[in-house]
């Protein structure tokens, strides 16, 4: 199996066109990172941005002292700006972080807002829990499912605090970034659409079956696909996080995911580091789902061109369907964490509320298993298995 796996890697992955396409797409990816930072990132946190120096002074644990300092500083800047003799100078002054009092007033405001979000987060959660408790009272003896759902929310949002002021832009952009997943999907299609088709077209499938290795090659091919998906996901995810990290820094990765504003109501109380891994895992799972479909299509076609065309249409169709399917039934929801990890959505499974972020990966795994079974039936017909069994006894 090990050797067959190696040869499947060689057949499918270690081809010049594959490596060239991947390199080209990674270059496009780097360009997209720049574009993403430009359009969606906060430029003031960049090394040449306005926030950079003041952030360096106030980042880390939020203390009363820091709060008093920044509020005092803001008040000072405000009084300068509001004084009648203030005339909006045009030359920078070294006494200020930004060179200007009105600039410092604005960024001090920003820092205060960030600290306020962190300090008041617990209040948000308390409010949420109160609403949840009133929902429980309201639905009691009326709707068991709603009660269970509210009870789950109460558990999920218990005991949450934010103690640190940090710059989480690198993680925020990474968790929302979708282009890498498209790269992996394109690569999976390009690499695996010819996999079984080519084997049939060149007669290799006959040799494999005459050696009684149809099943071994089937699993070697799938293992190759899983490995490729894992490697491609890992490489693109690392490229994404490092690229955004180079711009914004990769600090406070141990902080809770809800320290990032857009994840205020994240259903899981996990660290940013875990969320980064979780996002990569979801991308991997989606890539495997695509890989299973592409391999299934490939196993039904002898013509490599048709295999490419059908795979392309199938994936296009699934992406189109994603728009009309409920989000918890479409594996494509897992592309971006902003669709997936921002709030607690439940799926009613036999009266039990199951979190979407648990339901959808499991559903995707089940779909993968189902597609895998069909592919197995197509590429390892029972006829061959029966023959091999009988052949041991000398009969065909």
């Amino acid at each position: 199996m090990g050797k067959l796996f190696f040869y499947e890697i060689k057949k499918n992955v270690l081809r010049l066109p594959v490596l060239l396409l991947f390199a080209a797409l990674m270059l496009v990816n780097l360009y997209k990172h720049g574009e993403t930072v430009q359009y969606y990132g906060d430029g003031s946190y960049l090394p040449n941005g306005l926030m950079y120096d003041i952030y360096g002074d106030y980042k880390g644990e939020i203390t009363d002292e820091k709060i008093q300092q920044i509020v005092a500083y803001k008040n000072e800047m405000e009084s300068i700006v509001n004084s009648p003799e203030f005339d909006y100078p045009t030359t920078p002054d070294d006494r200020y972080y930004t060179g200007f009092a009105y600039g410092d007033k604005d960024i001090a405001d920003n820092v205060i807002n960030e600290m306020k979000y962190a300090r008041e987060y617990i209040n948000n959660i308390i409010l949420l829990r109160e609403k949840t408790q009133s929902a429980i009272s309201f639905y009691e003896e009326k709707n068991d499912y709603k009660v269970r759902e509210a009870q789950q929310i109460e558990i999920l949002y218990g005991n949450r605090h934010i103690y640190v002021y940090g710059n989480y832009w690198a993680y925020s952009l990474y968790l929302d970034y979708e282009f890498s997943t498209f790269i992996v999907m394109i690569m999976v299609l390009f690499v695996f659409a010819p996999s079984f088709s080519k084997q049939k077209a060149i007669g290799d499938d006959k040799i494999i079956r005459s050696c009684g290795k149809a099943k071994s090659v089937f699993w070697a091919k799938h293992l190759c696909m899983y490995t490729f998906c894992a490697a491609a996901t890992l490489i693109t995810a690392l490229a994404d996080i490092l690229s955004f990290g180079c711009r914004y820094g990769l600090e406070f990765v141990e902080q809770p995911i809800y320290a990032i504003h857009s994840f205020t109501y994240a259903p899981l109380d996990i660290s940013i580091f875990t969320a980064v891994l979780f996002a990569a895992l979801m991308r991997f799972l989606l890539a495997v789902f695509i890989g299973e479909i592409v391999l299934l299509i490939s196993s039904t076609q002898k013509n490599v061109g048709i295999s490419y065309a059908v795979s392309f249409c199938a994936i296009g169709g699934l992406i189109y369907l994603h728009g009309s399917l409920p989000s918890h039934f479409s594996p494509f929801t897992m592309i971006s964490m902003s669709n997936f990890l921002t709030e607690a959505r439940f799926v009613n499974v036999l009266g039990l509320p199951v979190l979407n972020i648990i339901f959808l990966p499991i559903l995707t795994l089940l779909l993968c298993a189902a597609v895998n079974l069909v592919c197995h039936a197509v590429s390892c017909p029972r006829r061959t298995a029966r023959l091999a069994q009988k052949e041991r006894g000398g009969a065909v």
């Binding site: 050797k3 067959l4 040869y7 060689k10 057949k11 270690l14 081809r15 010049l16 080519k198 077209a201 060149i202 007669g203 290799d204 006959k206 040799i207 494999i208 079956r209 005459s210 050696c211 009684g212 290795k213 090659v217 006829r383 061959t384 029966r386 023959l387 091999a388 009988k390 052949e391 041991r392 006894g393 000398g394 009969a395 065909v396």
Partner: protein, 287 residues
């Protein structure tokens, strides 16, 4: 060593009808080259697919007669019809890939792969990418992969299709050199390939053996049924439409026709020594 194919039957459903692709096919094979000849739909491919384990049969058995190695598939080398290769593999890579498929692990895998390539005169090309190989080189690589693991039974399905004359001669020589201690089954439409190398010819049609024997036996069976006549140019088409013409040679003004049939086509027809092609024409008509 004897490989016994016993009562192999295989039928397909076509529309509402069931069609026998093979019907109680029985044959005992010993070392040497067997040429499998038959028109399209004779059942050659079905037989090869069954022997190689690609499809199952409805009934029958295949086993070595000594019973020592009932698992004959592990003693099988196979070169399928229209075989091609992965262009990014080198010849040596490909042989090692086949070794992995056959679970064949000699002490020095590299040396073994080179020796297999040596036998088909490809040793010097061992490290070249297959994408750069000519059709003839690919065909020889096809033979090399079939002999990996020193199988007792070798099967070649239409191995010379698309080869030029020089490569076909080379192919035949390689096959002859392999046949000393192996059972070699050669299925082809090209009668001359079989005429040169096969010790036994198996004529198949309608899923059954029509005739089997050495070339000499098959030719002697139709002795007195192959005729040669001289015909005017304008009569040639008439002969061709009415009779089984195995050859027509023009000397400019007239044609010399070779005609297969139980009775002489003309009174002045001359009986000639039959060839294997004549045998095929006699049993199958046009192949």
């Amino acid at each position: 060593m004897e490989l016994v194919l016993k009562n192999i039957t295989k039928s397909y459903t076509k529309g509402k009808k069931r069609k026998n692709a093979l019907e109680n096919f029985t044959l005992t094979l010993t070392e040497g080259v067997y040429g499998l000849l038959g028109p399209n739909g004779a059942g050659k491919s079905t037989l090869i697919n069954i022997i190689t384990g690609i499809i199952g049969s409805d009934s029958g058995s295949i086993a070595f007669s000594d019973g020592e190695n009932s698992s004959f598939l592990s003693h099988l080398g196979f070169m399928p019809q229209g075989m091609d290769f992965y262009r990014n593999f080198t010849a040596k890579d490909y042989i090692k890939y086949i070794m992995a498929l056959k679970k064949y692990s000699p002490e020095n895998a590299d040396e073994y792969a080179l020796s297999a390539l040596e036998r088909v005169n490809l040793r010097t090309d061992a490290d070249k990418k297959i994408g750069a190989f000519s059709g003839g080189m690919k065909q020889r690589l096809g033979i090399a992969q079939a002999i990996v693991g020193e199988p007792k039974v070798l099967i070649f399905d239409e191995p010379t299709a698309g080869l030029d004359a020089k490569e076909r001669i080379r192919f035949r020589n390689v096959i002859s050199s392999l046949a000393a201690d192996k059972i070699v089954i050669l299925a082809t439409h090209i009668v001359t390939d079989i005429a040169y190398v096969a010790k036994t010819v198996v004529l198949m049609n309608g899923g059954k053996i029509i005739k089997t024997g050495t070339q000499e036996q098959l030719c002697s069976d139709i002795y007195g049924k192959v005729w040669e006549i001289t015909a005017e140019n304008d009569k040639v088409m008439d002969y061709m439409s009415r009779m089984r013409v195995s050859n027509a040679v023009s000397d400019g003004s007239k044609y010399t026709l070779r005609i297969v049939g139980d009775n002489p086509p003309e009174q002045d027809a001359k009986a000639v020594v039959p060839s294997l092609e004549d045998v095929c024409i006699y049993y199958f008509g046009d192949m």
